[in-house]
């Protein structure tokens, strides 16, 4: 699990993933995503983890990961995309030019929404007129 979260943190740029509390919702997300990746993208995911292990201790692990010749090969590339899609959108599937169309189970927790200072589309939890003001949490 720790290795998976380290890889996910590297790919997504979300440092918080490294310290996920296993008792939290994020912990449940991590377990579900890990299981899903193993089931749906096993060979690519395993190969990606192998590359990650080899670069994790390097001075710039992301650069090393992306420059590793194995990263550009399928099914590794697809596995990397799905890790990002799951954590940012809680969706998976698709591929280059084809958008993810499967539910990862935690749509409202997608990391893209706070990054663009919006709520998940369809789940506002705010009151009328909030949209007139500039987002304050910048």
């Amino acid at each position: 699990m720790e290795e998976f979260l380290g890889l996910a943190s590297l790919l997504t740029g979300l440092p918080s993933l490294k310290g996920v509390d296993q008792a939290s919702v994020e912990g449940r997300m991590a377990r579900d995503y890990l299981r899903l990746l193993k089931e749906q993208y096993g060979p690519g995911f395993d190969a990606l983890l192998t590359i990650y292990r080899s670069v994790a201790a390097s001075p710039d692990p992301l650069k090393s990961l992306l420059q590793d010749p194995g990263f550009d090969a399928e099914p590794v590339t697809t596995a990397a995309r799905q890790i990002v899609n799951l954590w940012l959108l809680s969706q998976y599937g698709g591929g280059p030019g084809k958008l993810p169309d499967q539910d990862g189970g935690f749509y409202e927790k997608g990391a893209v929404w706070p990054a663009i200072k919006a709520h998940p589309i369809g789940f506002s939890h705010l009151n009328y007129g909030y949209w007139s003001s500039k987002p304050t949490h910048e």
């Binding site: 740029g13 709520h119 369809g122 949209w131």
Partner: protein, 586 residues
Amino acid sequence: MALFSKYRDHTYDFDVVIVGSGVAGALAAWKLSRYDDDYRILILEAGDNGINEGQRVEFHHAMDRQGNRGDMFAPYLEVASRTMVPSPEKAAAPKPAPGQPFAEKYYDYGDTPDTFRAGYNRLVGGSTWAWRGNCPRFLPTDFRLKKEFGVGRDWPIDYDDLEDYYVEAEYELGVSGNHEELDGLFGAHRSRPFPMPGQALTYSDQLVKARIEGKKVGDTTVKVTTTPQARNSQPYDGRPACEGHSNCIPLCPSHAKYDATVHLRRLSRSRNVELRSGCVVTLLSKDDKGHVTRVHYRKWNAPGMPDTVVTAPIVVLAAHAVETPKLLLMSNLANSSDQVGRNLMDHIQWEVTALFEEPVYPFRGPQSVTAIESFREGKFRSQRSGFRMTIGNDGWGRAGSPAKIIDELLTKKVYGPDLLSQASHEITKMIRLSFSTEMLPSPNNRVQVSSKVDDALKLPRPLITFGVDDYSKGGLMAGFEASKSLFQLMNATLAEATPPVQDGKLNWNTAAHIMGTCVMGSDPKDSVVDGWGRCHDHENLFIVGSSVFATGATANPTLTLAAITLRTAKAIHRQLRHGHHNYALV
């Protein structure tokens, strides 16, 4: 005229049978029940879905599986009835190569010049399960296009005939809007304010408006106005104010936006109104006196799929502009003019996207709040369509969801901290202008009955023939040029600026505003219904919905069809109550 001499004639099963439970059918039933709660009304609906909050929650959470969130039908695709009463949800699929089958599931396209892309919902509540709630009115000249500009057709009614009903429709649907902004728009006077103020402008609207308000684009002075929308700006009709879920299409989770279930739920408490779902009307037939009083339907969700006939002295077709003409053609009724199915129209639409100079923070609030009405009217309408322009608050809309931007960055191998940083930089500056144009009614654009393919109930599918005319293409190009000028005024950077007409190829989107096919007119030789929505050929058969539109204009059709429905309901009431229909058209 003996048919209606006793309006409460209990030799009939019902006083009124209405086919279809979308906004037109639901509103007709509601209004008739208000005229007289003794009217025995049956609504037959092909779809079969709940309209309680539980169903709404189920649809809402189905959106999680929508992926790129661009499919307006996605929440409803798993409703069981979709197999038995298919809808053209894949109508937007591109036309395949010759000899290859269409990817869609319902239309038979035959030899159509262009693909008819507009879909609709066969659900309890109809296509209001997938609408944005925009409720602009038509302009006075929209009702006399031929007289004013020498093109298209004229309606047998005018704006003044409808004005009271427009007001009533705005109160029935719960339309928010700013009276002062729109009163007198190109001659469209308003006799009463909206039931509630217009939606609060989005943050992006304010930035955009500050840059373009009062500026000139060609000869046109730009004015940004708040679009009247059937979306609550304050609690109204037992529903809350909009919470800005940014998901008006396909589904408003909070029910701040009107849909036909509002009236259907009210009707469920009426003692004399019955809704039967899962009932596909297969035929209308005449009784031994020659009146169209027999409605045949197949209840596909009952064991053995029994066929049943119900009778009523008044039959109302409210099955939208594809199913209604198809049923009439299958029944060989109302077509002495040979106009049933003809004059099929949509609003041909295109959009231009850009990046604003600074973040506008889309996806916060309604998908669109404001519009530019300034381009809808002018002498140019003798040559080309006007257009109605909306300012989006949903990024690049169909052209670029957050998922798509992330996908493009991943394809460029952008990972790590740069990924969200670049995605955020781009997504927060996304702005979109969309414009809808008017098609002219053409007898060649039509719905027929397919002789080649049928559905799960062995009923023929609609055969569609459709071509986008030069009139609309001219409007599309004018909208494209105006959009570029507006973005220049905003100092925004154009993103996708594909011309709608390029090297002979037409690029366009559907607004899914299906209109025409049973057009209204004064001349029985040239139209299907009269100014009250009654079939020229059958005094007790009425049609409500956008199928009666003689022209399509540039305004979203729902408010106008709702107003016409209320007017038709009045005619039906008179006919039931007074036993005759020889009333004047004014």
